[in-house]
């Protein structure tokens, strides 16, 4: 039971050099893998490849030795780095949660989402407030793996600790695999069961 990237190659333009070259990564269910790499290395690209938002030029993404399903709920859910770019600006936030079936009392409670926010548009919330919605909706039923692309950099440290506590609790309960991209080594030390360094040379 694992999510694997095997010898991935990717570039946005055939004229440009490879962004990811021969990149191999594996995360098992039940573990939290922390990924380090320099800025601009392609961490966000890797996250999008793993969650099926992009297709690799060469190599494979395998979930339990099979390709990601092309229909239905994707068992690999991605939480993006910039929440303001990840929600529909014309949807009230209630609809954002309803879409993934996560408009649940205990989730609102756990993430500290205020009832009054549900009727607002994304532009009317702060980045940190918006990110709670993005994390909550990604924990939908059917998600077995969660890819967290710097999800807590826009949060204050107290909220950061609270949100990670909820995510890790939920991951433990449902035996989910988590990949956390971060630049904060202290944070990685707290949350990760394993750390991977992707150097610029690979």
């Amino acid at each position: 039971m694992a999510l694997e990237a095997r010898k991935l190659y990717f570039r946005y333009d055939p004229k440009q050099p490879w962004i990811l070259e021969d990149c191999t990564l594996r995360v098992d269910r039940g573990e939290c893998l922390s990924v380090f790499a320099p800025s601009g290395y392609g961490k966000t690209t890797l996250a999008m490849l793993l969650a099926g938002y992009l297709r690799p030029a060469r190599g494979k993404i395998l979930l339990n030795d099979r390709p990601l399903p092309s229909k239905g709920i994707c068992p690999v859910q991605l939480v993006c780095q910039h929440p303001e770019k990840a929600v529909n600006p014309r949807w009230r936030l209630k609809r954002v949660l309803e879409e993934s079936g996560m408009l649940q009392e205990d989730m609102l409670e756990a993430f500290g989402i205020q009832r009054a926010w549900l009727g607002r548009f994304p532009g009317e919330l702060s980045g940190g407030e918006l990110q709670r919605f993005c994390v909550a909706r990604a924990l939908m039923s059917g998600a077995d793996y969660l890819i967290c692309d710097e999800i807590s950099t826009m949060l204050d440290v107290i909220t950061q600790a609270q949100i990670w506590r909820v995510v890790l609790d939920e991951a433990r309960k449902r035996h989910m695999g988590v990949i956390a991209v971060t630049h904060n080594r202290h944070l990685a030390g707290r949350i990760a069961t394993r750390v991977v360094e992707l150097s610029g040379q690979t």
């Binding site: 800025s39 601009g40 770019k85 950099t153 826009m154 440290v157 107290i158 630049h183």
Partner: protein
Amino acid sequence: MEQKRETLLEIHGLSVSFRMYDHGLEQTDLQVISDLYLTVYPGEIVAVAGSSGSGKSLLASAVLGLLPDNATVCGHLYYRGQELTPGRQKQLRGTQIALVPQSVTYLDPLMKVGAQADGHRRPLPTARRKGFFKRLGLPDQTEQLYPFQLSGGMARRVLVSTALLTGAGLVIADEPTPGMSLEQALEALRMFREMADQKKAVILITHDIDLAFEFADRVAVFYAGTTVETAPAWDFKQGPDRLRHPYSQALWRALPQNGFEPVEGFQPYAGDLPEGCLFSPRCPCKTEQCIRAVPPVRQIRGGEVRCFYGA
């Protein structure tokens, strides 16, 4: 007696509220910043830390006069001793007061980032800009890229360079470091430090408070739309015993390197603030007094605190 120091920016009793529709055509005012005081002196980096959604970014918008039409601003703002009127804000914006915006969506999507950072200034500051890009570790070809081709950390470094190129007297940096690696973040903060050392000033709004403690002179801690404590950065480096407000202590303890222990509860919603001290519903040492009355600002050990018991 100490002489009154010349100030760069003074914020006196600032309040910001938004007019919103409630039911049907009924409107209500939602107060998001209340009774805020902050003074910035030349040569200083003032870090603004605190809860997300506590009004830190709105403070930046209020100083620059960038709030939307449904916002009402009360209180007084002074830049170099002169009141900041809407006209003056417009005149100083981008020349004397520069912003590093929080969101990378502030970059013009249809313009290459090199030309974008240079702006409309004549002569073009291309050589200086290249210097900044190089210091922040952006590869040479970055200037030829469009914003969508940048990673999150690269976009932030472009935003920081753009603000520093203005040569403004005051830079308000709204979370400049997310997405940058530690070395790049440190380099960006060193650039702010060098700028501040030329009798200029930086307001550094950040959640990377451990970095802020190293580079800032003073730290203002925000909670639910106002400052709960302003203290020398040195006190934050020392640890919670030197801090005056229970919220600042809670922040310190929630850092991954210091325990990663969140305090229970959430920041109150702006439309539903508690009657007494704003932090009282979550405070481990609250008393009857805290629930009934709003604590006044008190001066303690070279800092300011809004707490009855801070010592």
